[in-house]
């Protein structure tokens, strides 16, 4: 059963888990495991692999929770980053093969608004990110979203979009700089 914790409650539970509190760790799991499985499943496209990675993710979370610093990172961001990196490592280890999805399709999916149940992140940060991505051209914004959500490299993005590698790099690099400037303006 998934439960909803506020950002502060999740930070606190993560901090307690870092002190060895297993009940707090369970609260972190209950509140975030569905979100993190959503992330690993989009990257690996295989439920069993995605759940294996989820298991590894929480073992990493347990051992690293003591280093989580609520003043520097949001708890869900911290968790999503661990889960996503784990899933991408697994994807690239060759243990997984996956279908390819055109950027347009990923863009459509990414464009769906979040449902209330998944609004773990404080809404303002996400809204701002989406606003700033919206200021990029669709191709660039779509490529950045796809890279994040599916965990694919420049190479894969370029062949999917049928553009030279250098072109894809240039889109994303310039897109990232504009995005950052917008986020910090």
């Amino acid at each position: 059963m998934s439960s909803i914790l506020t950002r502060d409650e999740l930070s606190m539970a993560l901090g307690q888990a870092g002190q060895g509190d297993r009940a707090a760790f369970r609260r972190v799991y209950d509140a975030t495991s569905a979100k993190l499985l959503g992330v690993t499943l989009r990257i690996l496209a295989d439920r069993q692999l995605a759940e294996d990675v989820l298991q590894d993710t929480y073992l990493t979370v347990w051992s690293k929770a003591g280093s989580f610093d609520a003043s520097r990172a949001s708890p869900i961001t911290w968790l999503v980053t661990i889960a996503r990196n784990r899933a991408i490592d697994r994807l690239r280890s060759g243990a997984a093969t996956r279908r390819s999805t055109p950027i347009d399709e990923a863009f459509d999916i990414a464009d769906d608004g979040p449902s209330p149940a998944q609004a773990l992140e404080t809404g303002d940060d996400v809204r701002r990110l989406n606003d700033c991505l919206g200021e990029l051209d669709d191709r660039t914004g779509g490529a950045i979203r796809t890279a994040f959500i599916e965990g694919v490299t420049y190479d894969a993005l370029a062949s999917r979009e049928n553009v030279p590698l250098g072109t894809m790099k240039s889109w994303i690099r310039r897109g990232l700089m504009r995005l950052r400037a917008c986020l910090e303006s």
Partner: protein, 243 residues
């Protein structure tokens, strides 16, 4: 330290950190960037800032509930509880608040309770209509249901319906409340072989309204443990669910 910017006005350090966070680099480029991340705190901070910014993209992925066996596997991978920890506290932490007490099962248990004949001695008629608002299924370590309970904080009425899992045990089952702040509170000895009703006193009924789980310990006949610490083994536990 200033970073070189190229003809397009791209801050090379910052954009490389972004590429690393986004994971778009080729394996060789990524390995080089990881090495820099490990050696250069300024670069590592840039990567962290990008992680913080980009993680919001995960908002677009729909949550998917994991299979029920994932948590037990995670739990099995955790290191054993440190031996110098307060054993009792560690023990409660370990088993408390598993979400095995499914509401559906608990509701079924209420139906079972209502269907069973009421044994000795019937509780006094409540002043208000009975409203059962807390239910729990207590399970043994092997997952078998040991008992279902229903509790009405308004009246202090407690209904217990053991299965036959505890029948034949010569020890005396004792019921405990597990408090949200940690620690346990003894309710008392219970009948492990037949349905029973109790009315909790005012002090205890307040606590029962706050408890988030219940547990059963097995005590030596004739022995009453301290109110905050079982002496015998805890054999069953379950989360209290609100209706």
């Amino acid at each position: 330290m200033t970073d070189p910017t190229d003809a397009e006005g791209v801050d090379e350090t910052r954009v490389l950190a972004g590429e690393l966070a986004l994971r778009v680099l080729s394996p060789a480029e990524e390995a080089a960037a990881r090495a820099r991340e490990a050696a250069d705190p300024g670069f590592a901070a840039e990567v962290e800032a990008w992680n913080e910014h980009l993680a919001g993209l995960a908002d677009a992925t729909a949550p998917v509930a994991p299979s029920p066996y994932v948590w037990p596997r995670v739990e099995a991978g955790l290191p054993p509880v440190a031996a110098n920890d307060n054993r009792r506290l560690a023990f409660w932490r370990t088993w408390a608040v598993g979400s095995t007490g499914l509401l559906a099962a608990s509701l079924a248990a209420v139906v079972v309770l209502l269907a069973q004949p009421s044994p000795v001695p019937p509780a006094p008629a409540p002043a208000a209509p009975v409203a059962v608002t807390r239910v729990a299924t207590l399970t043994l370590e092997n997952g078998a249901a040991a008992m279902t309970i229903a509790y009405d904080p308004g009246t202090g009425e407690l209904y217990l319906a053991p299965t036959n899992e505890m029948a034949g045990d010569t020890r005396v089952p004792h019921l405990w409340l597990v408090m949200p702040e940690g620690g346990v509170q003894l309710v008392g000895a219970i009948d492990g072989s037949a349905t029973s009703r109790h009315n909790l006193g005012r002090a205890l009924s307040g606590k029962a309204g706050q408890a988030n789980a219940v547990a059963v310990s097995m005590e030596t006949p004739g022995h009453t443990p301290a109110a905050d610490k079982p002496d015998g083994p805890v054999v069953a536990s379950g989360e209290l669910q609100r209706l």
